[in-house]
C-alpha cells in the first residue's frame, strides 16, 4: 500500500507556491540560485575506514553518506557469471522531521532503486569481472546509502555518493577457493560514471535540484541519469502530476548541460580520493 507522501507538512503553503512561481518567471529562485543551477556540492571520499569504499556528498543542505561492504557469496542462478550489485537506501530520522524510524519505507526503496537503475542500466560496472567461480562464488557489493541531512532532492547526491564510493572502493582479493589473498586488492571494474539530475516542473517552468521548500510547491519532478557520453541511462518521475510532452526536449537538454557542469567537479574529487587510497 502506498500512502500520501509525508512532506514537511502534508500540505503546501499557498503563498509560497505563488512566490516560487513568480520568481521563476523572473529567472530567480527562493534561495537566490538561477533556475538551472545545482546547489553547492562537496564530495569527500574514504570517510569510513571500515567500509571498503565510502563517500560523503553534500548538495546544499542535503547530505548523503554511502558506504560499500564487499562480501563473497553465491551468484543469482540466472546470472551465474556475474557478481552481485546490491543498493539499499535509508532515510534516517535524524535527517528530517518527516522521516520516521523503521525499515525503509517506499521512499527509501524508491531511492535505492533509482540509484541502482542509474548505475546498472548504464552497464557502468562490469559485473562479470566480479565473478570468482561461475555459478558458485562471486563478489557481492553492498552499496548502502544513508540520508543524513535532508533539504530536498536526495536523488542526485545519492547517485553521486554511490559513484564516488564505488570509484574509490578497494576490493580485497580472494582466490578461487575463497581464500583471502593477503595484501592484494582490486578496484571496482567501472566502465562509465553515470550522474543524475532532478528537474522540477511548475507549470511551464523548469528548475534543477529543488530544495525542500521548492519540492513542496512543484507540480511534479523527474530524475534523469546520464553517462559520460550523454546517453540517458535512467529516468524516473518521482512525484504526482503531469509532465507536458512539449517540455521533454528542454528537460533533456537541461539535464545534459547541467550534468556536464557537475561532472568535472565529481571527477576531480574522485581523483583526489583515489590518490589517497
Amino acid at each position: 500500500m502506498s500512502f500520501l507522501p509525508i512532506k514537511e507538512r502534508s500540505f503546501a503553503v499557498r503563498i509560497m507556491n505563488d512566490k516560487i512561481y513568480k520568481l521563476l518567471q523572473q529567472g530567480k529562485r527562493i534561495d537566490e540560485r538561477s533556475p538551472y543551477d545545482f546547489r553547492k556540492i562537496t564530495i569527500q571520499t574514504n570517510v569510513v575506514e571500515k567500509a571498503n569504499g565510502s563517500a560523503l556528498v553534500s548538495m546544499g543542505g542535503t547530505r548523503i553518506l554511502t558506504g560499500i561492504k564487499v562480501e563473497l557469496g553465491t551468484p543469482y542462478s540466472d546470472r551465474p557469471n556475474e557478481g552481485i550489485f546490491s543498493v539499499n537506501a535509508e532515510l534516517l530520522p535524524l535527517a528530517s522531521k518527516s522521516f520516521e524510524p523503521g525499515p525503509p519505507d517506499e521512499r527509501g526503496i524508491e531511492l535505492a532503486r533509482v540509484v541502482d537503475r542509474c548505475i546498472r542500466e548504464g552497464k557502468s560496472i562490469d559485473l562479470e569481472r566480479l565473478c570468482l567461480v561461475p555459478g558458485k562464488m562471486v563478489y557481492i557489493l553492498y552499496v548502502d546509502i544513508y540520508v543524513l541531512d535532508y533539504d530536498g532532492n536526495y536523488f542526485d547526491p545519492s547517485v553521486m555518493s554511490a559513484m564516488a564510493a564505488l570509484a574509490t572502493c578497494t576490493i580485497p582479493k580472494y582466490s578461487a577457493t575463497g581464500e583471502r589473498i593477503e595484501g592484494e586488492y582490486m578496484k571496482v571494474p567501472i566502465r562509465d560514471i553515470p550522474l543524475s539530475v532532478t528537474i522540477g516542473i511548475i507549470k511551464d517552468k523548469l528548475l534543477v535540484d529543488p530544495c525542500s521548500v521548492e519540492e513542496n510547491s512543484l507540480d511534479t519532478s523527474i530524475v534523469i541519469g546520464m553517462d559520460s557520453t550523454s546517453n540517458i541511462v535512467a529516468m524516473h518521475k518521482n512525484s504526482p502530476g503531469h509532465i507536458p510532452l512539449s517540455l521533454m526536449e528542454s528537460i533533456i537538454n537541461v539535464a545534459e548541460e547541467q550534468i556536464g557542469k557537475i561532472r568535472a567537479q565529481f571527477m576531480e574529487a574522485v581523483r583526489i580520493g583515489q590518490e589517497g587510497r
Binding site: R9, F11, V13, R14, I15, M16, L23, D31, V213
Partner: protein, 229 residues
C-alpha cells in the same frame, strides 16, 4: 547573596548560578536551595532574578502573542493552525457562518493572537489584528531570536523595512512573512534577517546589518548569504 557568574556569561545546564533559591528566574532550576542553569544561554540579573537567556529553543506560546501560522485543518470546532511545525493551535469559531466568512483554506497563512496556552492546548482568537496573508515569502527564524529581530521598540525591524522597502511581518513564534517590491529587495531582507539570527548577540549588530543590507539593495555585493527560506 553572591552569584557565580559574570554578567552575560555563557552558562551550561547544571552550572551553579546562585545560593539564593529566591532568585531563580527563567532558564534555571532550584535544587537543595541553590540555583542552577537549565539551558545553554547567557546568564543575567533582571529585577533581582537570575535568568538564563537561551540562544535556541522551542517557542512557548504566551497569551497575547501575535503569531503567524499556517491553516492545517478545518474542523467543526474551529480552525487548526500550525505554528511552525511544533505546535498546532486552535482558532475557535462561533458558527459555520463565521467560518465561511473567513474564507480560509488549508495552506493559507494567517496573522493571529494567542488567547490562551496551557495544559489543554493553545487557543487563538479573532480580534481586530487578525488577517489572512495573501502574498510574500514565508521563512522561519529561531523563536528565541525574535526579540533581537524586532529590536528595541522595533528599531531593527523598522530599519530593515526602511532600507529594503519590504513589508515584514514577524510572528512571536518565529515565522516571518516578507513582501517587497522586487526579488532583490526581498532577498536583501532575508539575508539581513539571517545575519541577525546568526549574530544576534554580537556587538554593533544594527550598524552591521545596515551596511550589509544597504549594499545588497544597491547591488554592490553578490548575495548568497541569504540561506534558505
Amino acid at each position: 547573596m553572591p552569584v557565580y557568574f559574570n554578567e552575560k556569561e555563557v552558562v551550561l545546564p547544571g552550572q551553579l548560578l546562585s545560593d539564593d533559591s529566591k532568585r531563580a528566574g527563567e532558564g534555571t532550576y532550584v535544587m537543595d536551595g541553590k540555583v542552577y542553569a537549565s539551558t545553554v544561554g547567557a546568564a543575567t540579573i533582571r529585577d533581582g532574578k537570575v535568568d538564563v537567556i537561551t540562544f535556541r529553543g522551542p517557542y512557548r506560546p504566551v497569551e497575547g502573542d501575535m503569531v503567524i501560522g499556517i491553516v492545517s485543518d478545518l474542523k467543526p470546532i474551529g480552525i487548526e493552525v500550525d505554528l511552525g511545525g511544533r505546535i498546532t493551535a486552535l482558532l475557535k469559531i462561533k458558527n459555520i457562518r463565521e467560518l465561511a466568512s473567513l474564507n480560509l483554506k488549508i495552506g493559507d497563512v494567517v496573522y493571529v493572537r494567542v488567547a490562551s496556552s496551557g495544559l489543554r492546548g493553545v487557543f487563538l482568537e479573532l480580534d481586530e489584528h487578525f488577517r489572512k496573508i495573501d502574498e510574500g515569502v514565508l521563512l522561519m527564524v529561531t523563536p528565541t531570536k525574535v526579540p533581537r529581530l524586532i529590536g528595541k521598540r522595533g528599531s531593527m525591524i523598522n530599519m530593515l523595512k526602511k532600507i529594503t522597502g519590504c513589508n515584514i511581518m514577524v510572528g512571536t513564534n518565529g515565522l516571518v512573512v516578507i513582501n517587497g517590491p522586487s526579488p532583490t529587495k526581498e532577498f536583501a531582507a532575508i539575508s539581513g534577517i539571517r545575519l541577525i539570527e546568526r549574530e544576534a548577540h554580537s556587538q554593533g549588530l544594527t550598524d552591521k546589518v545596515l551596511a550589509y543590507v544597504s549594499s545588497l539593495v544597491s547591488g554592490e555585493v553578490g548575495h548568497g548569504a541569504g540561506g534558505k527560506a
